[in-house]
Amino acid sequence: VAALGLCAASWLLLTPLAFGDQGTHHHEVALTDRATAGGLAVVSLFTLICWVLTWRRKLRGDGALPGTSRRQARREARELRQRARGAETEPANTGPNSPDPAQVLSELRALLIPLLTEAPDGRPAASAAPAEVHHHGAVPPPRNEQEPFDGFPPRAADLDDFQHAPDAARGYPVAPDNYQPVSGEPDYYQPVVSDGYQPSPAAQPAPVTADTPVAPAGPPVRPGPPVPSEPPAPSGIAAIESMLAGAELLTVGCGEEEAW
């Protein structure tokens, strides 16, 4: 449409010249056409530029056009060319200024000769000739044959980790020797039967024997008032309720729900 507007503007500019002076208002008509053509040309050009820029941005956003402009790409290519040229000319520039390797080697040899002629204990070496140093002598020769490997020997200490107390001492249910599960599934509610595990002597109370020292007897105890016997311990649901009451009191005392 903008291009059509440009064509129409150019046509309007040319028509007064093409048709010539016709009628009484030809000056007025020519002036109107030229002014309209000028305005139309400006508007059409502006619209054309706007559409070109809009489509260019849209195509660049969709990836149809490269992200860099042609001018920027040309500038980057020029910089790359200059860098490559500079990298090529750098060794040539540093060539005359770099020291001669042969001269450096001869100077190093002259410096090393007096050091090599002296032994470590200060005595001069047998020959003053510079000795050749083979650094590769310290490298072991390559081994092409596979060395014998007997495997890792077993360690007896590793088995100590598996020698724990019997299951009965750890509280696990242990089935008796003659126990046979009925349904084939393990019965975890079987009573704990000790398999002969004896706790350490320190944990057991020492038996009272004749040799055992007895604490000296104190003053005679007078019989006091009869102490009421303790109530029977709660059992079953009553025991659970008492535990819940204690936990509830703890929760109320702390004032936090996290006390549970």
Binding site: G5, F19, H25, E28, F46, T47
Partner: protein, 92 residues
């Protein structure tokens, strides 16, 4: 760049409307400036102005509505992508 894309699009649409307006002016100019009397035979200049004006009006309005329809379609597509939760690459 993204922000200026919408402004450019609006300027482009406004340019199309301006072209249509210039066409309308070309249609009305012979009668407004009185170089085409009503009832008198049509002069060549008046006929040419009216024809060019009609072409410009038709082209400008057609371009404007076409661009507007394209823009509305893009907005619908972006809204659909947003409802799906996919990333939207909008010009605006």
């Amino acid at each position: 760049v993204v922000k200026h894309g919408g402004v450019l699009n609006r300027f482009a649409l406004a340019g199309l409307v301006a072209i249509a307006a210039i066409g309308a002016w070309l249609i009305a100019a012979p009668f407004v400036l009185h170089y085409q009397r009503s009832g008198a035979p049509w002069t060549g200049a008046a006929r040419m102005d009216v024809v060019v004006g009609v072409v410009l009006v038709l082209a400008g309005l057609a371009g404007f509505f076409a661009a507007l329809a394209g823009r509305v379609r893009e907005l619908y597509a972006e809204a659909e992508l947003r409802t799906r939760g996919e990333p939207v690459a909008s010009v605006e």
